[in-house]
């Protein structure tokens, strides 16, 4: 069940380029499932006006060493909101709403998972890996980015026993090229029976991956992005069109949606990501 709660920034760590890990207190730990997200905004701040959606990178419940628990977000600084949480001091009060949305489905009896992530799209896979690893599953991750700095979360995945392969568009790390090539290679090399594809990244990448998965007959779940007004289903701002031409809410029926429900989904563009002050 989602809640609106106040917590605070416990730590912040730059992880290269515009990326940082933001650790908050975690009053919602008990409810979190991998793939869910939170809406985040500084407490009592009127600017920016709306809260910002971020995937839950890691959710650790309160314990003796971590009395407030830890809700970890991997954030890429792109605009006003992400710049603000990058710069306010540790200790600053933060309001979060969550956990929100549908988590990744983990089909009964599945034994193998393949993550395909683009850039900051890797965020939900750390929590997912932790859950799947707990079930003793075999997990591979294919991570793509423009450049080396855009390959985030690799260490965290590897620590959880995930086999990671990378591609960068500029060839600065891993294979030179796109993550879709890694995927095609992996499919050609043969994936374990019943492998689930979990995908999160830019629209274009998700469309491409969705198509590849379909051709290969692989079950595939996409974690979508959309500009969100509320995050909990009431503004109808975040919809995407499904196969039947119906709008589904990314915040409520998503963000995780089976790719075959969205063969042809109508993502809108979201502008240049800056809002005048």
């Amino acid at each position: 069940m989602a809640e609106k709660v106040r917590t605070r920034i416990l730590a912040r760590r730059l992880t290269g380029g515009d990326y940082y890990l933001l650790t908050l207190g975690n009053p919602i730990a008990a409810a979190v499932r991998p793939g869910q997200f939170v809406m985040v905004g500084l407490a009592d701040a009127a600017d920016p006006f709306l809260k910002r959606p971020y995937s839950i990178y890691r959710s650790l419940p309160p314990s003796t060493e971590r009395p407030e628990g830890e809700l970890v977000l991997l954030i890429k600084r792109v605009g006003k909101g992400s710049a603000q949480t990058a710069s306010v001091p540790v200790g600053t009060a933060i309001d979060i709403i969550g956990p929100l949305g549908q988590p990744f489905a983990i089909p009964e009896g599945s034994t193998s998972a393949l993550f395909v992530a683009g850039g900051v799209g890797v965020a939900p896979f750390i929590e997912l890996a932790a859950t799947l690893a707990g079930k003793g599953m075999h997990i591979q991750a294919l991570i793509g980015g423009r450049s080396e700095v855009d390959l985030q979360g690799i260490g965290a995945l590897e620590e959880l026993g995930v086999t990671v392969r990378c591609a960068t568009e500029d060839g600065s790390a891993g294979t030179s090229g796109r993550v879709t090539t890694l995927l095609e290679d992996a499919i050609e090399a043969g994936l374990p029976e019943g492998t689930q594809l979990y995908v999160c990244g830019p629209d274009a990448m998700m469309k491409a991956v969705g198509a590849i998965a379909q051709r290969a007959g692989l079950p595939c779940q996409l974690s979508l992005e959309a500009v969100m007004g509320c995050g909990f289903g009431v503004c109808l701002g975040c919809v995407v069109k499904d196969n039947h031409g119906e709008f589904v809410r990314v915040c409520k029926e998503g963000p995780v949606i089976p790719a075959d429900r969205l063969q042809d989904y109508g993502f809108g563009d979201i502008g240049d990501g800056e809002v005048a002050k």
Binding site: M1, A2, E3, K4, G41, A46, D47, P48, F49, L50, K51, D95, I97, A226, V227, M228, G229, C230, G231, F232, G233, V234, C235, L236, G237, C238, V239, V240, G245, E246, F247, K252, G266, F267, G268, D269, I270, G271, D272, V275, A276, K277
Partner: protein, 316 residues
């Protein structure tokens, strides 16, 4: 505290108001299009705490709405161009109304719209005869597809026609929701009342636009959208005041209300109740929080009964 729980003690001011003979246990109503059909926010608070709920705008047929992007943040506000996405009359009656009806102590206000005078009239007739519907709220900020797309709510004649057609068929009190995109809101208010409106609500959103200089395109897929939130509060408050001066029917004020103080401002200028929209997006407990604060603020002003506050603005 007590306000939010609905149990007034001797010390905490009475928040009840009456609109067209219907009692509201408090003056806070969820605004249309910002609270779904009442169920989506149940994680955050019991919707039965509210004085009333205005549903998403209902049309005869289901409506998919506009392509995305549908919303965009602006300075202290947001633009939306949802395109009146709704489940349509039949699904509403069958699947959505029962929940609202179950909140027996919270007024059920069904917001609706049409594309022609006939559609408005038909909806008013069919929605108004249903058990559990306390009010209809008529959204007239929609283009008339039969008359060159003029927005009903911006033309006095068109408005009079559509309001009286709806009123004829409507068996419950009819609230007309005014568009703020007009020269003379008081004139529009009088026109609506003369045509049969039992109450008025205002404001709907102000037409606005955002553009993306990188792509050289409007940001919203629809080109323009409606501005809501604190940015419009001074404008909405002025219009609410002007309308309360102009008509004798109850007025429900809205536009950028974020907290109890804002709500009391609208009631000070004459609104009998308020609706709260965008605030819930930013703070899903904005409405129950507001109820808690409202009692305290009124007590601070030495007011025991909200009714002694309404419309008591002194003008020089």
């Amino acid at each position: 505290m007590n306000g939010a729980q609905g149990h007034a003690t001797a010390a905490s001011p009475t928040l009840g108001v009456t609109i067209c003979g219907v009692d509201f246990k408090n003056p806070v109503i969820a605004a249309s299009g910002t609270f779904g059909y009442g169920e989506d926010m149940i994680d955050f608070f019991d919707p039965g705490l509210l004085g009333g709920i205005a549903t998403k705008g209902i049309s005869l047929k289901p409506k998919a709405g506009n392509p995305t992007p549908r919303i965009w943040e602006t300075a202290s506000g947001m633009l939306n161009a949802i395109g009146l996405n709704n489940v349509g009359l039949d699904v509403f009656l069958e699947k959505k109304l029962p929940f609202l009806r179950s909140l027996s102590d919270t007024a059920c206000i069904v917001n609706f719209y049409g594309h022609t005078v006939e559609e408005y009239a038909e909806l008013a007739g069919r929605l108004g005869e249903v058990e559990g519907v306390d009010f209809l709220e008529m959204n007239i900020s929609c283009p008339n597809v039969k008359e060159g797309g003029i927005v009903f709510g911006t033309d006095p004649k068109l408005m009079a026609t559509v309001v009286s057609a709806a009123k004829k068929r409507c068996r419950v009190p009819l609230i007309v929701k005014l568009s703020p995109n007009v020269t003379d809101i008081a004139l529009m208010a009088k026109t609506a009342v003369d045509a049969g409106a039992d109450a008025l609500s205002l404001v709907n959103t102000f037409t606005g636009m955002a553009v993306d200089i990188r792509r050289r395109r409007p940001i919203l897929a629809n080109g323009v959208g409606g501005l809501s939130g604190p940015a419009i509060k001074p404008l909405a408050l002025r219009m609410t005041h002007a309308v309360c001066q102009a008509v004798a029917v109850p007025v429900i004020g809205m536009g950028g209300i974020m907290n109890a103080r804002d709500a009391l401002e609208f009631m000070l200028v004459g609104a009998t109740a308020v609706q709260v929209g965008t605030a819930s997006f930013v703070n899903p407990t904005a409405m129950p929080d507001m109820l808690t604060e409202m009692g305290a603020l009124l007590a601070e002003q030495g007011v025991d009964n909200l009714c002694d506050w309404i419309g008591t603005l002194q003008t020089p």
